[in-house]
Structures are given as structure tokens and as C-alpha cells.
């Protein structure tokens, strides 16, 4: 029995090697950099947690982090409800289904830097359709100079690019609800809102967990699009952690602080994702101890 179990490890070995080379070893290199300093010549000196303390104390890091949190918060607040609404409005049968699915999938197929370029041009005041039209309407819009305009442009772009992901996930949750649920709701005289609240939303919960996690992680790690559209400007007002990190690592070649920062960045994403996951799946399981009596609450 024992030997059989041990042999089984050989099946896991290829994947283990793959993960080691693709993830573990690069990660350990970063860990290595984050606790050492170098003065060229490939000589390294142990500095302990100094880089971490420096990054955590720096105002530049705080500002970028706040921008990231604000950006991801706004993205989730807009894309999740919008995605649910669009999914609810999509047809369930007939030729409209495939048309809608293809239209929804289109933005998802476009590479990040292309999306950035599209919006960079689209929003330009001199030649862009959006920017020029707004200017013609007398709206004072300029994303290269105005912080608010820059943010509006980035958020619009992200909503345009990624809401369909939420839509597709929610739609898959909705179509998996058997007809009998809607029929029973009609028999019970449930309102449209009650159907949403007690049938559709609970049945979408699992896919919503995935949607929230994906949209949080992706928006928190956003790099290419703001880099292409605003380059982090005007000033530093759209410089997110990722842009900051690249500037530090490649622009300034501060490998130690950059390594420390990327580890902190990674841990923040992990922590927040865990919080989302725990909160959203917690409601799933808390059940028996609910003290509300059947007739007592509305």
C-alpha cells in the first residue's frame, strides 16, 4: 500500500516542475532581491526587512495604493450591478441569444494594449470621436490635463472592456435556473423583485463570487491600459501600483525596494481576495442558527 502511494507522486511531478519553474523559482528570486542590496558587480548584502519598511513608509506607495483601492472599488460598484442588469435583460431563447453572446464576447477578445490605444485615440480632443464630439458640444474635456477626465476615461474604458465578463458569468448562472422555479414563483404570486431577490440572486451567487474576484484582481493589477492612455498622468494622478512598480524596477533600477513592493502588492491582493471570498461564501453556509422565525420578518 505504502509503495503504491509513493509511486503516485510521479504523476504529480511534471506539474510540480512546471509550477516550480513558472512560479516558485521566479517568486523566490524576488524574495531574494527584497532582503538584499547590491552595488553592482553581482555583490549582494543582507539588509533584512529594510526595503519593506521603506516601501511601507513611503508616501508614494500610499498614494498609489489609495488610487488602486479607489479604482477597483469604483470598477466593482459599476461593473457588477451593470453586468447583472445586462444579463437579466438578455434573451433566454431564440436567435437573439447567439447575437448577444457574440457581441458580449467581442471586447473580451481584444488585447489590453489595443484597448488602451483605441481609447487613447477615441478620447483625444483633436481627432478622437469622443473627445472631439465632447469639445464640439462645449464640454471642457481633456484627459491629458484634467485628473477627473483622466479617471472617467479609464473607468469608462474598463467598463467597456470587462463588463461583458460579468454579464457572461451571470448569464450562465441565470440560464441554469430550471423553469419550474419561475413557474412556482408565479404560482406563489411573487413580484419581479421577489423573483430576483429570492431566486435569481441566490442562484447567481456562485458565479458572482468568481466575477467579483476576477474583476477585483484584474482591476487591482491594471497596468497596460492606463500606461497606454494616460501614462500615469496628468502628474501622478493615474499612477497605479503596477505603473509605480515598473518605474521603480526598470526606470530607476531599484531592485530591492521594487522586489519588496511587489511582494507587498501580491500580499494585498491575496488578502483582499480572501476577504471577498470569505464574506461571499459565508452567507452560503450560515443557515441553521438564523434565529428569525418564519412569520416574523418581511
Amino acid at each position: 500500500m505504502k509503495t503504491q502511494n509513493n509511486k503516485a507522486w510521479f504523476f504529480v511531478l511534471p506539474v510540480l516542475l512546471l509550477v516550480a519553474f513558472s512560479a516558485v523559482i521566479p517568486l523566490m528570486t524576488v524574495v531574494n532581491y527584497s532582503v538584499q542590496d547590491s552595488f553592482g558587480n553581482n555583490e549582494f548584502y543582507w539588509v533584512g526587512l529594510e526595503w519593506f519598511q521603506e516601501v511601507l513608509a513611503s508616501e508614494r506607495f500610499h498614494n498609489s495604493l489609495m488610487r488602486n483601492l479607489l479604482f477597483s472599488g469604483l470598477i466593482l460598484l459599476i461593473e457588477i450591478p451593470l453586468g447583472i442588469a445586462v444579463a437579466l435583460a438578455m434573451p433566454r431563447r431564440g436567435w437573439g441569444v447567439s447575437v448577444c453572446l457574440v457581441l458580449m464576447a467581442l471586447p473580451l477578445l481584444i488585447p489590453w494594449n489595443v484597448v488602451g490605444t483605441i481609447w487613447q485615440v477615441f478620447a483625444r480632443v483633436d481627432i478622437g470621436l469622443l473627445g472631439h464630439s465632447l469639445a464640439a458640444l462645449g464640454v471642457d474635456y481633456n484627459y491629458t490635463q484634467d485628473t477627473f477626465d483622466a479617471w472617467v476615461t479609464l473607468i469608462l474604458m474598463d467598463v467597456w472592456h470587462w463588463t461583458s465578463l460579468v454579464v457572461l458569468l451571470c448569464y450562465s448562472g441565470l440560464v441554469s435556473i430550471p423553469d419550474a422555479y419561475y413557474q412556482a414563483a408565479r404560482i406563489d404570486g411573487a413580484s419581479r423583485w421577489a423573483v430576483f431577490r429570492y431566486i435569481q440572486l441566490p442562484k447567481m451567487r456562485r458565479v458572482l463570487v468568481i466575477a467579483v474576484l476576477l474583476r477585483f484582481m484584474d482591476s487591482f493589477m491594471i497596468y497596460t491600459e492606463p500606461f497606454v492612455v494616460t501614462g500615469g498622468g496628468p502628474g501622478n494622478t493615474t499612477t497605479f501600483l503596477s505603473i509605480d512598480l515598473v518605474q521603480m524596477a526598470i526606470g530607476q533600477f531599484d531592485l530591492g525596494p521594487a522586489a519588496a513592493m511587489s511582494l507587498i502588492y501580491f500580499l494585498i491582493i491575496l488578502l483582499i481576495s480572501w476577504v471577498f471570498y470569505t464574506v461571499m461564501t459565508h452567507q452560503d453556509s450560515d443557515s441553521v442558527t438564523d434565529s428569525r422565525q418564519g412569520g416574523n420578518h418581511q
Partner: protein, 375 residues
């Protein structure tokens, strides 16, 4: 208020359950294909326990959904008492329906699930919280769900879920009828029996009109006072279990009801005798000469092994022992014939059989002769 004994009695007295009338109801799912439900008229009496029996795809569920309003019939009217409700939406018809797969609101507790249809009421029908709680409590007691009343509905067993689905109909005092769409499909066999008994009890106690769709004859015959047998969108016969057994109006009903079903043998009539190939069977009455396909129907229960001079020779092809009796599969000439033989009786190697001629039915083009068609 009319007198009654106890709370539930009172509620039942107060309800206005109704006679349900189908007036030339027909339905087709799209205009190109034929009728899923052929034009039919039927009356469901107030407080009756009915079963809609038929093979899959015969239109039972379609008919049920038309009554509850989930489906708009393409033709005809539906009347509750004498009010035309054909165009009323489901929620205004006061129909309860239990589906094949239990439908529960997962995020609510069992009690909240039961309260849900009452809470959805608006306007003059709105109930106070105490009233809702009282009714929910009654339904819980009725179905024996006390232990799980405050549990989330998620994760309960299928039979409990189905009870709760039924409960959502029972809490409503104004239901015109409770419809069941093969409600025991996902229930374990030993619990099926229990649930069906409970259902019968509730019917006896509270007198709701119940219409029960099933393709299982045992379920239909044990549940219902009246069974409606359907085939291909048509009602073939409505009758008590006894009527369906004794005088199936259509050869399909004969074959569908019974285990095994009725033997249907093509024959020729000559006065008081029927000719099955070369074999003569004496009938209880004389028939005129008839055109069309003539068949003789005899239930396996009324074919006896016998050695008189009138009896017919058969070849046995198989014997199935089902415990309380044996089913003998035999051939009468080129026609298969099922015979039920009591456990103790020996089966001879070259048996001859006799038909109980009072139990013989004669069919012309699949329709029973000598039966008053109730149309």
C-alpha cells in the same frame, strides 16, 4: 360563518373552492405542428381527487399548466365555477402547484418558504403578521415539519423539500385546486408510499380539489377517486379505478392499466361467437356484424387454465413468479396471451385456457362496444 370543528375546518368552510370546467380547450405549442392537446371538454368537481394518467408526452403536463395559467390555451375556455378565467394570470387564479422537482427558496428558512405566498399579497388581501404566522404554524404541524421549521431550506432531503412545496399551497386558504406534476419522481420508493398516504389524508381532511399527473398507474389508482387516461393529447377515458379495470373504453386503456395489461386479440364475430384464427370463443351476448378492426379484450386475471372441451390450446413461452401469483406468457396461435395463475396451481405442459365470457370486451377500431360513451 358556517359551523366547523377547529381552526382548519373553519378555514375550509370559508374557502371558495370551485368546480373547474374545460370548455373545448386545445393547445398547440406552435402553429405549424399539430395539437399537443386536442380539443376537449371536461369537468373537475369541487373537492375531487383526480389523477391524469398517460405515457410521457401525452399532454398531461400541458393540461395541468393550462389549468394553473402557466400556459395560455390556443383555443377554448377555462371556467372556475361559472367565471371565465382563461385570460387571468396565474397569481389571480389561486391555484397551487407542486412540480416534479422540488422548488424551494434556498435562502429562506422552511417557515419563511411557507410564508412566502402569503407575504406576496398586496392590497385588500394582505394578511397581518400574526395571521401569517398562525397559518404557517398550522401547515408545519399538518406536514410534520416542526423539527426543521427554522432551518434553511437548502440541504433538506427530497421528500421534505416536496412537502414544503406542497405546504406553500396548503397555507393559502383560497386555493381553487392543488395540482401535482409527477411529484414523487425524485422521492425514494419507501417514502413515496408514505407521502402518498399523507397526501390522501390531507385530501380527506381538508377536501381540496387535487389533480395529480403521473405516468405510474399504481400512483394514479391509489391516489385518485377518478382517473383520466390520456394518449396523444386526447382523453381516452375518465373513470374510477374499477371502471378502468372492468371496462376500458379504448384498447390502449386496457393495455396501459393493469399488470400485465389486458390481452387484445384480433378476432372475427359470428353471432355469439368470436373467431380468433381458428379458435372459437363463446361470448355472453350477440353482436351484429361489424366493419373495421374487431378485437377481443380479456384481462389476464380472467383467463383460466381449464381442460373442458371449449378451452383453447396455448404454448407457454415463459413464466414470471411475482410472489402473490404467477404471470404466464403464452401464445394463442400467433397471438401473445398473458395469463395470471395462482401460486398453488400447477401449470400443465400442454395447457388449455378458458376465457371468462362475462369479462370479455369487444372493440371496434379500438373503441369498446356496448359502452355508453359519456360525451
Amino acid at each position: 360563518m358556517r359551523p366547523g370543528n377547529g381552526y382548519w375546518r373553519r378555514i375550509v368552510w370559508q374557502t371558495d373552492m370551485a368546480k373547474i370546467t374545460l370548455n373545448n380547450i386545445a393547445h398547440s405549442y406552435d402553429s405549424n405542428s399539430g395539437h399537443a392537446l386536442k380539443p376537449m371538454s371536461h369537468e373537475w368537481h369541487d373537492g375531487g381527487a383526480y389523477a391524469l394518467l398517460g405515457p410521457s408526452g401525452c399532454g398531461k403536463t400541458t393540461l395541468l399548466n393550462i389549468i394553473s395559467g402557466l400556459l395560455q390555451p390556443s383555443e377554448g375556455q377555462l371556467l372556475f365555477d361559472d367565471v371565465d378565467v382563461s385570460t387571468l394570470p396565474t397569481e389571480q387564479r389561486n391555484i397551487a402547484q407542486v412540480f416534479q422537482f422540488p422548488v424551494l427558496y434556498d435562502t429562506m428558512t422552511v417557515a419563511e418558504n411557507l410564508a412566502f405566498p402569503l407575504r406576496n399579497r398586496r392590497g385588500p388581501d394582505k394578511l397581518s403578521n400574526t395571521e401569517i404566522q398562525q397559518r404557517v404554524q398550522q401547515a408545519i404541524t399538518m406536514l410534520g415539519l416542526e423539527a426543521m421549521a427554522n432551518r434553511k431550506a437548502r440541504g433538506l432531503s427530497a421528500d421534505d423539500k416536496q412537502k414544503i412545496s406542497l405546504g406553500r399551497g396548503l397555507v393559502r386558504t383560497d386555493v381553487n385546486a392543488i395540482l401535482f406534476d409527477e411529484p414523487l419522481t425524485v422521492i425514494d420508493p419507501h417514502l413515496k408510499w408514505q407521502l402518498r398516504t399523507q397526501l390522501k389524508q390531507i385530501h380527506r381532511q381538508f377536501g381540496h380539489t387535487m389533480i395529480y399527473v403521473t405516468h405510474d398507474q399504481t400512483e394514479a389508482l391509489t391516489f385518485a377517486d377518478k382517473v383520466v387516461v390520456m394518449l396523444a393529447g386526447e382523453v381516452l377515458q375518465t373513470g374510477t379505478p374499477q371502471e378502468l379495470f372492468d371496462s376500458p373504453q379504448h384498447t390502449f386503456v386496457g393495455k396501459f392499466i393493469g399488470s400485465p395489461g389486458m390481452n387484445i386479440l384480433p378476432c372475427e364475430l359470428q353471432g355469439t361467437q368470436a373467431l380468433i384464427d381458428a379458435h372459437r370463443v363463446t361470448l355472453a351476448r350477440e353482436y351484429p356484424s361489424l366493419t373495421g378492426v374487431i378485437e377481443l379484450g380479456i384481462r389476464p386475471e380472467f383467463v383460466y387454465i381449464d381442460d373442458s372441451e371449449q378451452s383453447l390450446p396455448v404454448q407457454i413461452t415463459g413464466v414470471e413468479d411475482v410472489g402473490r401469483h404467477r404471470i404466464v406468457r403464452a401464445m394463442l396461435g400467433s397471438h401473445p396471451l398473458d395469463i395470471i395463475v395462482p401460486e398453488h396451481q400447477t401449470i400443465p405442459t400442454a395447457p388449455r385456457v378458458l376465457f371468462d365470457n362475462k369479462r370479455i370486451n369487444i372493440y371496434q377500431n379500438s373503441q369498446l362496444l356496448g359502452w355508453e360513451h359519456p360525451s
